[in-house]
Structure formats: structure tokens, C-alpha cells
């Protein structure tokens, strides 16, 4: 029989681009955290000062809208990692993988539902854990950092 070096065969098929990076979830989480802090930093003007009150409500509404959008984006980015990147062999190495993602997704919801810097810190910790697991599965040492 002819011997030759066989090129690598694919035993499974990745998604179309195969580009994954938990950074996109982190950035969205940081944005939701930032909006939470900005909301808490607002000072409510007197309702009698109409122009100021309207401007305040407009600003608050926009901050809340962006918090909602970014927390949802974080959830979407996490779900793409969970459903498309991670595979059964990863579960063997990280048996708490599903629970980690489930709780992280729920924290995205908590950040939407409440204006809570506590839930924000919990969400960042969850995203950091996912970052660590992700890069460990790729056997790359990628430092955790935040933009803000």
C-alpha cells in the first residue's frame, strides 16, 4: 500500500466564518455597565423646571435604551459562543460549561431589568470566566483586559 502523509481531514464542520472571540461579549457587557453607572450618576432636576426635566427624561431614556440594547447584544454574543464555538469535547474539560453560560445569560437579563452595579460586576465576572475557558480551549494565553 502506498504510504503518504494525509492532510488533515475535518471530522466536523464549523460555522461559516469560524472567527470567535469573547471580546465582543465583553465590549457589550462593558457598555451595559457603563450605562448603568451613567444612569446612577444622573441627578434628577426639579419637575418644575420643565426644560431641564424634559432633557433629563430624554437622557435617562436614551441611557436605559442603550443599556437594554447592549445587555441584549452581550447575551446574543454569549449564545453564539455557547451554541456555535463550544463542542462536546469542551464539555468534558469544563463540565460546568452550560451552567456558566446559563447564569451569564441570566445576568444579562438582570442588568436589563434592574439598575444594579452589583449585577454589572457579576456579569463582568461571568464574561471573564468565559474568556478564560474559551482561550484555554484554544491553548492560547490571552490576557483579560477591559476597555474602560
Amino acid at each position: 500500500m502506498n504510504e503518504r502523509i494525509l492532510p488533515v481531514a475535518e471530522a466536523h464542520c464549523d460555522g461559516p466564518c469560524g472567527v470567535y472571540d469573547p471580546a465582543s461579549a465583553r465590549i457589550a457587557a462593558e457598555a451595559a455597565v457603563s450605562m448603568t453607572k451613567k444612569i446612577n450618576a444622573l441627578v434628577v432636576p426639579a419637575a418644575s423646571d420643565k426644560a431641564a426635566y424634559v432633557a433629563y427624561l430624554n437622557t435617562l431614556s436614551r441611557y436605559v435604551a442603550i443599556k437594554e440594547e447592549q445587555a441584549h447584544l452581550c447575551k446574543s454574543e454569549l449564545l453564539v459562543l455557547w451554541t456555535d464555538y463550544f463542542k462536546p469535547p469542551h464539555l468534558e474539560a469544563y463540565p460546568d460549561l452550560h451552567d456558566t453560560f446559563w447564569k451569564a445569560a441570566k445576568l444579562c437579563s438582570a442588568v436589563k431589568v434592574e439598575v444594579s452595579e452589583t449585577h454589572c460586576a457579576e456579569l463582568m465576572a461571568a464574561v471573564k470566566r468565559i474568556h478564560e475557558i474559551f482561550w484555554a480551549t484554544k491553548q492560547r494565553d490571552v490576557a483579560w483586559y477591559t476597555a474602560s
Binding site: L6, K87, P89
Partner: protein
Amino acid sequence: MYPVLRDGDEVDVDLDAFAAAAPRAGEIVLLRHPFRRGVTIVKRVLRVEDDGRVFVVGEDAVGSSDSRGFGALPPESVIGRVIIPPV
């Protein structure tokens, strides 16, 4: 082909396995991907159609891209029989 094969596993392939006879259902084969250039895949033969085409499936039904999506493959796609190392 998880859990039969894992990422990074090395296998031998019998390139002459199907010179005289067609693959049979249940055999694990190395094939050329139907439309991705240069890509070879490892799948299990589920059945051989009447016209000789092979309907192949991955072991991990949920994660596998296979004949359920890209249809049965022509016999010329089959490169050889994969020999799974004993456990």
C-alpha cells in the same frame, strides 16, 4: 465523528479498500467534501443508494454537517476506509 474520533486523532486510511467493492453501511470512510475545495471529511456510511452514491452521516448528529444537508455523495468522493484505532 465525536465521540468515536476527537479533534487531533490520527487514523490510518486504507486507500485500496473500495477498489473492488463499494463501501457498506456502517463503515467509516474518508471522503472529499462535495463543495469545499481541498477539504476531506470523515463520516459513517448510513446507506448506499441504488445508483451507488453514499449517504454519509457524522456520529454527533446535532453538530454534524453531512448528507442530511448536502445529500448523498458520488462514489468518486470516497478516498478510503478509516481504520479506527482500538480503545
